[in-house]
Amino acid sequence: MNAPPANPSKRMRIAGVVMLGLAAAVAVLFVFDPSTAGFYPICPLHAMTGLQCPGCGGLRAVHQLSHGHIAAAWRLNPFVIGLLPVALWLGVREAVWIFTRREWPGLVTRPIFGLLLAGALLVFGIVRNLPFCRG
């Protein structure tokens, strides 16, 4: 039977705006290379100390990935590239929940994974600044 359409809820509108914003950010990253364009933010830790923070190279890595250069992206920041599929899964899962009220398996939503993430972030931030890893 024909049924009148459900009005989009406030959450659906917010989710739509967030998705549009993310798409716009990826489009900007695709067109402008962070290693040459001047308007991207600069890492304060690197500017002050010369050390690479765990996120350094993340934007350049996403730019390389958006052009299909997986190896170059991995060299720039393996941590961010490894986290992207996880973030993608959680984002799609959240969108499915908001728009269809279906619950997909969380896989990594237990809090222990958050502590693992914090530990991995610290270890990666230290290891990538060791003399034999720089470059």
Binding site: N2, P4, A37, I42, G114
Partner: protein, 157 residues
């Protein structure tokens, strides 16, 4: 039997009162939606009919309960973890925004997360997230004196 003027300005029906209640439960029909009773010529808002006054009748609610997510405790823990992460590094201050979202969701929708008391966790996550976002937002101030920093502009992010 009733006819319904949908939010897309199309006329639906005629449908039974039970179907109308189902549409109410699904959010397709609001109290302000115009409906026309069989035999009547004028359109009235749904809320003006006593038999559809909100809240909807309990049996319908029991037939199709609105799905509610479990795990307020989990979400509060994630708020706290994101609050910690937000203070680790400037690039991780994105976690501050996530921490804000998790903590505020737990605090503002506590009726959806019955059971354990996770207010303290959520408040801790909220405070840590705000601290992380605040002091990282102050970092660009240092760049007004770039000569202090020999590596300035060496690498973008």
């Amino acid at each position: 039997m009733f006819k319904v003027l949908g939010s897309d300005q199309q006329v639906y029906g005629p449908v039974s009162a039970a179907q109308l209640r189902l549409w109410m439960a699904e959010g397709r029909v609001q109290p302000s939606t115009l409906i026309q009773a069989e035999g009547a010529t004028d359109w009235k808002p749904l809320s003006s009919l006593a038999e559809f006054a909100i809240p909807p009748v309990p049996p319908i609610v029991n037939l199709s309960p609105a799905p509610v997510r479990e795990g307020g405790q989990t979400m509060a823990m994630w708020g706290l973890i994101c609050g910690i992460l937000a203070n680790l590094c400037c690039c991780a201050s994105i976690f501050g925004i996530l921490g804000l979202i998790f903590s505020i969701t737990v605090l503002s929708r506590r009726q959806d997360f019955p059971g354990a008391n996770h207010k303290e966790l959520a408040v801790a996550g909220l405070i840590l997230s705000i601290i992380g976002l605040l002091w990282h937002s102050l970092l660009p101030l240092f760049f007004f004196r770039p000569r202090m920093f020999p590596h300035f502009r060496h690498w973008p992010m």
